[in-house]
């Protein structure tokens, strides 16, 4: 039986910054040489460049020019003074706050002032003796040679001109058994044109179906991945310029199974000439399976996004109360081009308020995953709140509509989004009480259903959650609401049908499964589940037909073969049945139904 859960899209991401820029040059202000009021590159500016700029501003990296030498910096001196003063560079969106982020890339006011004075005083080089040694950068793969290197089979040719492009590359993982991953290095192709990239883990094969041909990739800004079991996304695998690969903490390896695809979702910007983008990824395995299971909590309130044209301060918020103790490890806010002021805060049970992140000038181009320097304990009963402000007026220069038009929530870059991902690790829980991530997911789903009763996905996800907990009655109720909200949704109809079959109500299931097939005639799950429903009503002829169709759609599915064999055997067509059992066992030597039935069949045939 297939129970596809539609765990709403979660971006996986990893951000880390600057660890490769070896800190060879601490600020040498303590040992001034020459005229101390004269700011010089060698003494005052080089340490800032080496520490905060050179990880991107060096050959082969994302920035358009290097800042490794005096002559490099001199050629951009005024520009450097401008962009540091406006804090456009280095790109770091959050305001300073009490909870520190790892690898914070923010210049101090003192450093900014020093750069300004340097330029005003004529951008002098200074004494050679003052120049700190160049930082040592690791060339090639940052963590050494990866255990597995995969390159996108088909490059994308980025046109010279046009709006930003969002493209997804699929990397099938050639492994035969489950492996554990401690790090993934993303090489997004030519770094100068890739603004950011996320890896999504697709354990369902759903993304492959979106390719025009295998390896072609597909366009789009956001991806939805269906999951068949409760297997929540757990890791933020993110790349932005300057990122060094993040090594997961001990015990928090990422699981990859046979058949898993990694989807690299990239945001690209045309350069003025055609660019060939062919990303690769390097995977580092670990022999140590995961012992700690973080989870990505996705808070969102897209249905509240209905922003009238001209509105300068459209506020969308959400508040979610944690049902278990968690450690907050990382945070990833996401909005599109109307996003202006973005913040998230936590109110602890004792009333203490903690700012989790505050971005006063949101800029999608520099979106990032922010990891906390230390895990942040948020006890059960803590309310996490998000407050996003949107500007849909003419004053917002990034407004995709000119003149401004009504904007609603959606996946296209001209739509808007109100998302906040939290990577949390449940702590202080009693394993006997079950998986704490299920409690988190159920609470979040119930919360979403309450705030947005017309949200199909919320009802669907809550149903899938309840089904995973074996609460079939509750699951059927929620699936029914979902199907009422979207009667034409194949996934919803199939899931309701499947839940009804599991609850022994196969007769009721038929119409939903047929509805699913009407929308998607090539829907394997629906054919398979209808086969189960019909077999439950002793309609073996009909069941055999459905399993046959299902195994045509997915020729390598052992379950469909075994069930086809079972339906044929029920009708006394033993020879045919035997062939299908054997085929099932060829695919999966441990397929239990085929094994058991084949034995029974052989006895049956011997008896006649």
């Amino acid at each position: 039986m297939k129970f596809p859960g539609l765990w709403a899209f979660v971006v996986l991401a990893v951000a880390a910054f600057g660890a490769a820029s070896a800190h060879s040059g601490q600020r040498a202000l303590s040992q001034p040489s020459g005229n101390p009021s004269q700011v010089t590159f060698n003494r005052d500016i080089a340490p800032i460049m080496f520490r905060s700029c050179a990880q991107c501003h060096r050959p082969g990296e994302a920035a358009p020019f290097s800042l490794l030498t005096y002559s490099d910096a001199k050629r951009h001196a005024r520009q450097i003074a401008d962009v540091t003063e406006s804090r456009a560079m280095p790109p770091w969106l959050p305001e300073p706050q009490k909870l520190k982020f790892a690898d914070e890339l923010r210049l101090s006011d003192e450093e900014i002032n020093l750069i300004k004075r340097w330029v005003e005083q004529g951008a002098e080089e200074g004494a050679a003796a003052d120049l700190p040694p160049l930082p040592k950068f690791v060339e090639g793969w940052r963590l050494g040679k990866p255990d597995l290197i995969l390159t996108a089979s088909k490059p994308l040719v980025l046109p010279p001109q046009g709006t930003d492009t969002y493209w997804n590359f699929i990397f099938p993982i050639p492994i035969q058994k489950t492996r554990w991953v401690k790090a993934i290095e993303i090489r997004p192709g030519d770094k100068r044109y890739v603004h950011h990239a996320n890896i999504l883990v697709d354990r369902s094969g759903a993304s492959r179906a979106r390719e025009a041909e295998p390896g072609a990739g597909f366009g789009g800004m956001e991806i939805r991945i269906e999951s068949q079991v409760f297997d929540p996304d757990s890791h933020l695998l993110f790349w932005k310029p300057g990122t060094v690969p993040y090594v997961e903490p001990d015990g928090m390896a990422l699981r990859l199974d046979k058949g898993t695809d990694l989807i690299l979702n990239t945001h690209l910007q045309p350069s003025g000439k055609p660019e060939v983008i062919q990303p690769s990824i390097g995977i580092y395995f670990t022999p140590h399976p995961a012992t700690k299971f973080p989870m990505l909590l996705q808070m969102e309130n897209d249905l509240k996004l209905d922003i009238p044209p001209g509105e300068k301060n459209f506020v969308v918020g959400d508040d979610f109360t944690l049902p278990v103790d968690v450690e907050l490890l990382a945070i990833y806010p996401h909005a599109h081009y109307l996003g202006k002021d973005i913040q998230a805060f936590a109110t602890l049970p004792d009333g203490t308020k903690k700012t989790l992140i505050h971005i006063p000038h949101w800029n999608l181009n520099w979106q990032a995953v922010y990891r906390y320097a230390e895990p942040v304990l948020l006890p059960k009963g803590t309310t996490v709140s998000m407050r996003y402000v949107y500007d849909n007026s003419e004053e917002n220069p990034l407004n995709p509509n000119h003149p401004p038009a009504r904007v609603v929530g959606g996946n296209r870059s001209t739509d808007e989004m109100c998302h906040l991902w939290l990577q949390v690790l449940p702590v202080n829980f009693d394993p006997a009480q079950g998986d704490p991530r299920m409690a988190l997911q159920e609470a979040l789903s119930r919360h979403t259903v309450e705030t947005n009763p017309a949200d199909f996905e919320a009802h669907y996800n809550l149903a899938a959650m309840l089904q995973a907990k074996n609460d079939l009655v509750g699951a059927i109720k929620e699936y029914e609401v979902a199907v009422r909200l979207r009667p034409q949704d194949a996934t919803g109809n199939n899931a309701l049908g499947a839940a009804l079959v599991a609850a022994g109500q196969g007769e009721k299931a038929v119409r939903y499964l047929e509805a699913a097939m009407k929308v998607r005639p090539d829907y394997f799950d629906a054919h398979y589940n209808l086969g189960m429903a019909l077999a439950g009503q002793n309609d073996f002829e009909g069941a055999a037909q459905q399993f046959q169709l299902a195994s045509k759609l997915q020729p390598g599915d052992a379950n469909a073969e075994a069930n086809l064999g079972a339906a044929l055997a029920e009708m006394g067509r033993f020879a045919q049945a035997e062939a299908h059992f054997e085929r099932a066992l060829q695919i999966d030597p441990n397929q239990p139904i085929a094994k058991e039935n084949l034995d029974a069949l052989k006895k049956e045939m011997a008896g006649h």
């Binding site: 020019f65 001196a77 560079m89 001109q161 100068r192 181009n365 990034l398 000119h402």
Partner: protein, 192 residues
Amino acid sequence: MGFWGRGMRCGLRWSFLLLLTAAVAVWGQTALDLDGHAANPLAGHSDKAVVLIFLRRDCPVSGRYAPVIQQISKQYAGSANFWLVDPDKRDSAQDLRSYLADYNYHLPALRDPDHALARLSHVQITPEVAVFNRNRQLVYDGRIDNWYVDLTRARPAPTTHELEDALRAVSDGKSVTPAEVRGVGCYISDLE
């Protein structure tokens, strides 16, 4: 040096221009074509306007404008002559040739190592343009349009089109307003 100042903008006749060209040559400050010969895009008589487009090879904003510049220069080819100008003295003719090929430019290009043309044009940033009318008066200098808001943010599409407005005004014999709008990009003065 007052000679190069803003006074030029009004009432410089083309007969004066010869003097100007001569002066440039004497001072050793002249733009060069890709064969290394002194070149003055403002010399000679023509009924067409002249547009100088300043770019820096290491300026990504310059790069992103290449298709826009190509389109505008094609559209207004009947009324103006377009020149690309590279004010970076570190660039060789060969550097510039390969840049033009990479970006699929079909426009004549000049090197301006001493910033003679840049000063004459009052430009400060790449990419900025200078438009001279048929009398070789500077009638507009500044940005092409308002695509970029600042160095890290660009509009989905520009909503003002200063270069095209200037070209149309020149064709119609009207004055250009505003005559100067600073651009977003990379400073030319940083190259000195």
